[in-house]
Amino acid sequence: MRTLRLLGMGWYFQFKMISRSAFEGVGQVIWPLFFATVAFFVFRAGDSPRTLLYASLGAAVMGMWSATSTTAGAAMQRERWFGTLELLVATPPHFSLILLPVTLGMATIGLYCMAATLLWGRFLFGIHVSIVHPLLFGLSILGTVISFGALGFLFAVCFVRFRAAWALGNLFEYPVWLIGGFLVPLALFPDWVHPISWALAPTWGMNAIRESALGGSPLDDLALCLGLGVAYVALGVLVTERVLRAARVRGALSLT
């Protein structure tokens, strides 16, 4: 119960902080709209059988990933800049329980991006999003946010030794957009790309959202998305242990 309370309060405060940041709050919501606009124009001008609704849902999830990837990479570094990293590491709860709500908060900002992109498509491009399974659609979004937060958590702990962690976070924005199947079907990619896509929770989250919106069966995709999210968290906890131990041994926690 105490753990859940810690996660909940941590998420709430982090979400409030990020929402008030011009770069992470406003900027991250606007940024994917430009890419969504290009995608809408390209799909409208082309003669693909894929519809603008397909592009709209994909572009909306692109925004969710964008909100996570660019900021999660530097999540621990941000605490270092604030001067709060040592204090947080020294608190009794495991550091993972403190860092995970940070990246979950970032992923939650993605909901703004998603709503903004869908509304953008609706009012500027006339794309009507009709949801066949609203409940499953809501669950798919929730599962996707959680798995994005989990992947962001893994990024945050893996990149902590890099001074320019934010640049690495930025680097992963386009590749996941590309091979996550957001706007491009995986069938168009070479075979060697497919296993990489399957190892990414965003791929399954995107599938679940699309299936629930268009009338398919999203449960398998959602289960895989959440399963991968749990795996990311487990791996992230192990990496956190290792990173913190190394930092303590070397006295390098506050150094970059």
């Binding site: 770069f23 124009f41 390209v42 082309g46 894929r50 320019a164 990619f189």
Partner: protein, 262 residues
């Protein structure tokens, strides 16, 4: 004259090295060399998925348009970085001529922007197996350099706004986004609404991208001379506007003591 030349060349290079912190390989390589490759791949595959244009269209468009990142961010660092370091007032109180001061800082940015675009173009062609005629390489390199010059002109305006705006990174991303949509890098200009394709004529990259595509299709440099000239004019216009804005905001900053406050 010697002093002005020293401020222009030495001051420009020193400022670029000191303030454009992306120069460290840990940032430069992922952001400026790898980043554009994935942008090219993303839009090339979206184009394949939508059955719109060839890979060549997206490789050239996105490689040139990506020069906006180094050009816009470096120019905003020219002001934002000085403020962050606490040296902005010292720079602006100095009697140094403003033309060599500001334009000198633009030159390394132009060179770097052209380098980033050229590398993206070369790697994009290699990865997607796009073949450009050998005779088009040198003219395209010239067009890429002019595109970077043109965008750096817009970057000067961005730098001037940095004297008034704290969150310049957001503004820079917004400008990048507009360039992505309007300049025909990914959407053919004739597929955009009329007002958008008309507005694009006054933006950096629009003419350069068309010129580079025509060169890649075998046109001679002379045949795209009008487009290249238009791109130069756009860059000059933005550069002059940016310089005027810088001087105006500098005067305002002195009058209201707001240089360090934005």
């Amino acid at each position: 004259m010697t002093v002005a030349a020293r401020i222009f060349f030495v001051g420009g290079v020193t400022s670029f090295r000191a303030l454009f912190y992306w120069l460290t390989p840990w940032i430069y390589v992922p952001s400026l060399l790898v980043g554009p490759i994935f942008q090219i791949l993303l839009f090339a595959y979206i184009g394949r998925s939508a059955h719109l244009r060839s890979d060549e269209f997206y490789v050239i468009g996105n490689a040139i348009q990506y020069a906006a990142i180094p050009c816009l961010f470096a120019m905003s660092q020219m002001i934002g970085g000085e403020r962050y370091q606490g040296t902005l007032s010292a720079i602006l109180v100095s009697p140094a001529g403003r033309i060599p001061l500001f334009f000198g800082r633009s030159m390394p940015v132009v060179v770097n922007g052209a380098f980033v675009a050229a590398v993206a173009l070369a790697l994009g062609c290699l990865i997607l197996d796009v073949r450009l005629p050998l005779s088009s390489i040198a003219p395209i390199a010239l067009v890429v350099l002019i595109a970077a010059f043109s965008c750096t002109g817009l970057g000067l305006i961005n730098a001037a706004i940095s004297l008034r705006l704290r969150e310049n990174a957001v503004l820079t991303n917004v400008i990048f986004g507009f360039l992505l949509i309007f300049t025909g890098a990914n959407v053919p200009l004739d597929s955009l609404p009329g007002w958008m394709s008309t507005s694009a004529q006054g933006m950096p990259f629009t003419h350069a991208i068309v010129a580079a595509r025509r060169l890649a299709d075998g046109a001679s440099l002379g045949a795209v001379g009008g487009l290249v000239g238009a791109e130069v004019l756009v860059g000059l216009a933005y550069g002059l506007c940016g310089y005027a804005l810088l001087r105006w905001f500098e005067a305002q900053g002195r009058r209201y003591a707001t240089l360090e406050r934005a």
